[in-house]
Amino acid sequence: MNIRSQVSMVFHLDKCIGCHTCSIACKNVWTDRKGAEYMWWNNVETKPGTGYPTKWEDQEKYKGGWESNGNGKLDIKSTSKARIVPNIFHNPHMPSMDDYYEPWTYDYQNLFNAKEGPDQPTAEPISMIDGEKIDVQAGPNWDDDLGGSPIYAENDPNLEGLTEQQRLQLSSVERLVFFYLPRICNHCLNPCCVASCPSGALYKRGEDGIVLIDQQKCRAWRSCVAACPYKKTYFNWFTGKSEKCILCFPRLETGQAPACFHSCVGRIRYLGVLLYDADRLEEVAKLPDDQLVEGQRSLILDPHDSAVIAQAKKDGISDGVIESAQKSPVYRFVMEWKIALPPHVEYRTLPMLFYVPPMSPVQASKPEDTIHHETEDLFHDIDSSRVPMKFLANLFGAGHEGGVRYALAKQKAVRWHRRAETVGDISRDLADRILHEANCTREEADEIHKLTSLCTFEDRFVIPPMHREQAIEMMKEPHEHREETGFGFVGGPRRGL
């Protein structure tokens, strides 16, 4: 056993209101620069929808993630070692700006400088790349709230395998349904971007598992952009370097939550440390699709187990991090309650951002149902939910419904339990029965309820001590570091010499 720690995340989709505050916080802090205008390290998508970049989940087109090559080995789907040599000049699976959108601003100067004429001057949209006038065709959230749209929702790659009736159900007039999917880098345990980098510029930090790109080593071979199945590495067209979400490591190192977490209005985001066994990564990444979710869970170790604690200490994990892992809200959602699931686990990158699948809308596809007290099957509205289980399973279970159904059933049981406690229109017996059938206890339900709806800042973000102060001393002369004013290198990033 080789224990490492990983800063991990949970997004509770039932609480996401799709306000994009997270995206704006991230944009203002990190990507409001030339060459990075089109990048949204954090973005919020409407599901069903095509997302950003358009149809990023369609791996027939983008060839992201890992594939099994038949003899029990994993290969990068886009440019593995053998395929990079002939393809290094032109990456065949590299998305282009058209797949994202061309960033634009408005010609505000025209409002002041226009010649006198019969009409009011207007500020026309102009490209932020060449300054020419553009006809805006797409934006970062162009599918926002467009559930039911024939352009966006109907082209969602997750609709694969849904029956015609289920598809119609998603878009039926006056009953159409959508939910939000906020996305950042998953800081995977088996990151495809890292494995694909010809320069070895991408790396995972040993202490906290944050995946970063060394800007000094990146040579613009572009493999990471094609390889990441979540399309969360971006190519800066100006500096000729790839960039990605850094999980706000400068904030984490000073004990602050990442900007998108901190600013989340719906308080849907949780952050905490998980301990995992790094020796079993390869074995788990090769499991068949239907065993991947459980396989990934089996990597995560119980931070209360004395054998795990002893081994963690032996592997150099500090007491502070172990203590932090014991309080981790992520551990509770993923391991204790099992209601948070990794997105698209079939890409085999072992993502460490987990989603609690959404209950809303609680209303099922049947006309009469709100809350049924009398029916024998307590979970009928989950099985016939307006968001078909198969759709959620394609997102959070590699097409297998078991994990999603378990998570939704438990959430429903928590709601009924709390309703029995506070409103009283559900009998205690019935609430206990649904808890039992959802594999939940009253105590657990109360804890889920508390961490879901009454959670404080400190409950949501349990940030481990990063011991950065030790790291700098190990890396370089403190006086030399001081000269660089903390930014790592002197002089701003620019294109070429």
Partner: protein, 229 residues
């Protein structure tokens, strides 16, 4: 200015200035401006023409440059191999084909950069100068191949000794002084390109990703490396 002096300047002084600049500046730039070492790919902005321009150019220039290097390093082997006329024809024709491939690619690169306003935005003055130099160099190279055939052989007998004499710090320009003007142009421009190299995007070919092929898939960096690992 007599021609002897001009030859001394072009084939003794200039090569040393260019080679000195090359070695000094590539190392200096790598140490002081590591960030600037990048292929500066524009594939992200324009993805379709890119293939038809960049791919032929790279394959062409790699083969042609490798051919020059081989004739420089192992001239006797090249001569021996070309002693049979059929082999000589095959060598010369394939060299010409790859030279033309380079030219097609390079013209494609320039047209793409010029016609697309977005790509033009990410093209610097240095890039345009470099493209100009490479265009003249490629065209003169193809001209040499057409008008002064069997270059693989006379390169090995005349130019290889000259180049070696440069590196042995005992330059003998007698080999090149008698060369036709087109060949002289090609040689001078080659040295100029080497001298200009460290100031351009060409530096990306010094950082080709060799270790990738045998490194482990995952890269982990530690701040505090645990003792037992």
């Amino acid at each position: 200015m007599n021609s002897h002096f001009l030859d001394q300047f072009l084939f003794v002084a200039l090569p040393y200035v260019c080679l000195f600049t090359f070695f000094l500046m590539t190392i200096y730039r790598y140490r002081m401006q590591t960030f600037s070492y990048s292929s500066l790919s524009s594939q992200f902005i324009e993805n379709k023409q890119h293939f038809w321009a960049v791919v032929p150019f790279h394959y062409g220039i790699l083969v042609v440059t490798a051919g020059h290097l081989i004739a420089f390093l192992i001239p006797r082997t090249v001569l021996a191999w070309s002693s049979h006329p059929l082999r000589l024809y095959v060598l010369e024709i394939s060299a010409l084909i790859f030279g033309i491939l380079t030219l097609i690619g390079l013209v494609g690169v320039v047209v793409r950069r010029f016609s697309n306003t977005k790509i033009r935005k990410v093209t610097t003055v240095t890039d345009w100068i470099l493209f100009g130099m490479l265009l003249v160099q490629t065209i003169s190279g193809i001209g040499v191949a057409i008008f002064y055939p069997w270059g693989s052989s006379w390169f090995a007998t005349n130019l290889s000794p000259y180049l070696w004499s440069i590196f042995k710090l005992n330059p003998e320009i007698a080999y090149v002084a008698a060369m036709p003007h087109l060949v002289k142009l090609h040689i001078v421009l080659a040295f100029l390109t080497i001298g200009f190299f460290p100031f351009t995007r060409l530096v990306h070919l010094l950082v080709v990703p060799n270790p990738y092929l045998w490194r482990k898939p995952q890269v982990v960096r530690w701040y505090r490396r645990p003792k037992q690992m």
